[in-house]
Symmetry: C2
Subunit: 377 residues, 2 copies
């Protein structure tokens, strides 16, 4: 008998919508607010699952799309599920593959914003209709059909603690009629996903994905539709605007329309300046590849701010990366040594710094939880 | 007061020249015979120093040439020496940079053998004369002079437990007169290196480098010259022939000319089939980047032989990489998962498999030491 999924609020801040909570899952508790590192291919880049457990990463985000293409969701099912396959003991969340439909069509979020919507659809997408999306695998050119039902089935094979309904993520630059059509369809897809999931919940929880782009009225409507369906929590997806200010305004207007007794998750956001304002607006968890990507580019998070380890002032700096940090890297290696490893293109550089940035994020979130309990946020 | 360098023979096999010994150094004991992993840039590739200590790597090989070019031997001296810079607690051996003179002129040993000596000298070498070698840095084009004295000074800055005199490594395809001239010069360079070292030994030991290519008489002469100088041990360098058979014949004829009461080291050899025959001929230590290079190419050492992890038969193999192995990788991850990480080009693959191959080598050498004690080798 698997432990049931439930959410408890430990403390509601008196100063903001921030709250401290606990999400109970079959693989343990996620203390909130928390940061969710990304392990696209069933590993955090340059780190391994046992180490992620040791770093107290309480929830990890894996990408269904990538895992469907390789090694395949059936193989992972045969291995005993994603936890067994990658040897992770703690909770996992998977997405639906919907985000990748967007990526295939428009390139990255950043590139799409820059292109002002002029970039044409990629020929990787063969067909989108009410049923779902037919596209070509970037790996071997084979055709793959993603529908609400196939996405949920793949996520059943993977067996993550939290799964996501199949949705369509439109670009920031989309005309209003197209947005409206997509909006309606994506909500039908989410309901189909939920129905497919509820045939065999198997201990998994499903979060909805709130859509509506940067239109407050559509966001509100999305909240109304989705909170009335038996989702276990709500993720916030779709375009969140072109800058932090727009995102925070959007969240400020939207968050009161989400039920307070269910956990929420902000998809794809995790840059350092965004975290505290999002927590203050009531965000429980958020995922991003930002800390590990930064690490691999020598952008290291410290108690004194982000440092660029390749900066010449660290050449002869024989002090730890962050004197205030207790991680393996800071206990054992210096700034000068890390700079040397980067300059020598040693893989060791990426492991040591990714470990540090993830450790930093876990400690940061712990300090935010304490700050809420202390009524400082 | 630094602990003195000395070598003790624990057991001499009754069946062969193989022996079990202990090399005492300022940073601890090296049990012999032993394998010496290479950490060219002050790290084993995809692993870190603390982990190498934990894997019981008792001697590590770092390259003076690379470290002189980056980050520079003065910077490492300022850090407190190579041990402090890279945070290694156990013994280190550095080479002289002589091997790289060869590499700059001829490309890799393998390529030189294939070219049959037709490949022209690279323009990286600006001048070779009695004094030493003037060459261009591959990093920034600056001119660098390597002489016996500058090489030893650089190795004093690095502060390894065992250092190597500056020598010239000729190609396999060299005409006899050129070989003779080089032979004489390299022995003069070694004596100059030793004299420079003895001005300030500072707890370091210096091994000679036996030369003479594949000429038994020259090898014997080299042994005679160098064993009469106060070196602490003897490394075997120069061309060792074009295949394993030629190398073993060469070693068989040469080893009786080395003093039995001093440790010896075979430079740049460490492929699995060569290890036992070399041990039987009396080799104490040998270094190679082979195990880590193999790991990064998915060639993994197991109790059942070398396996190619990308082989399709491992796709659904949910057993450990080597069921007989107790390393971190084998305890935590399966063959199917490792294959997936390789196919997804995840850096994690290289760390986990490098760790395994190094662990395998350490266990293998331990088993050889026991086999000698048991008179099985």
């Amino acid at each position: 008998m698997q432990k049931p999924f439930f959410f408890e609020i430990i403390y509601q801040s008196k100063k903001s919508r921030a709250r401290v909570g606990r999400i109970h899952t079959p693989h343990g508790i996620i203390e909130t607010p928390n940061f969710v590192p990304v392990g696209t291919n069933a590993t955090a880049k340059a780190l391994d699952s046992v180490l992620m457990d040791q770093l107290d990463v309480q929830l990890m985000f894996c990408n269904t799309y990538h895992l469907m293409l390789h090694p395949g969701s059936q193989l992972i099912k045969d291995a005993g599920g994603l936890h067994t396959f990658m040897n992770r003991k703690k909770p996992i969340i998977t997405d639906s593959g919907g985000f990748q439909v967007f990526s295939l069509m428009h390139g990255s979020v950043h590139n799409e914003l820059k292109s002002k919507g002029k970039k044409s659809d990629s020929n990787a997408i063969l067909k989108i209709n009410e049923d779902g999306v037919l596209f070509r695998s970037y790996r071997d050119g084979s055709q793959l059909l993603l529908t609400p039902e196939t996405s949920v089935q793949a996520q059943k094979d993977l067996g993550a603690d939290i799964i996501i309904p199949f949705d369509e993520l439109l670009a920031f630059h989309t005309d209003p009629q197209k947005l409206k059509n997509s909006f309606d369809r994506t909500h039908r897809w989410e309901e189909r996903s939920l129905n497919e999931h509820l045939k065999n919940p198997n201990g998994q929880a499903m979060y909805s994905v709130i859509h509506g782009g940067i239109d407050d009225a559509l966001r509100q409507k999305s909240c109304e539709i989705l909170r009335n369906l038996p989702f276990d929590g709500h993720a916030i997806g779709g375009s969140l605007g072109k800058n932090q200010e727009q995102m925070l305004t959007l969240l400020k207007n939207m968050m009161p329309h989400l039920p307070i007794d269910k956990p929420n998750h902000l998809l794809g956001i995790g840059d350092l300046p965004s975290i505290q304002p999002c927590i203050e607006l009531g965000i429980d968890t958020m995922d991003s590849s930002h800390p590990t990507k930064c690490a691999r580019h020598g952008m290291l998070f410290t108690s004194e701010g982000i440092i660029k380890i390749l900066n010449s002032r660290f050449k002869n700096d024989f002090t730890p990366l962050d004197p205030a940090c207790s991680c393996y890297t800071c206990k054992n290696y210096t700034r000068a040594y890390l700079q040397h490893l980067f300059k020598a293109h040693e893989l060791t550089a990426y492991s040591l710094t990714s470990l540090h940035n993830i450790h930093y994020m876990m400690q940061l979130m712990k300090s935010y939880r304490q700050a809420i309990l202390d009524d400082k946020i």
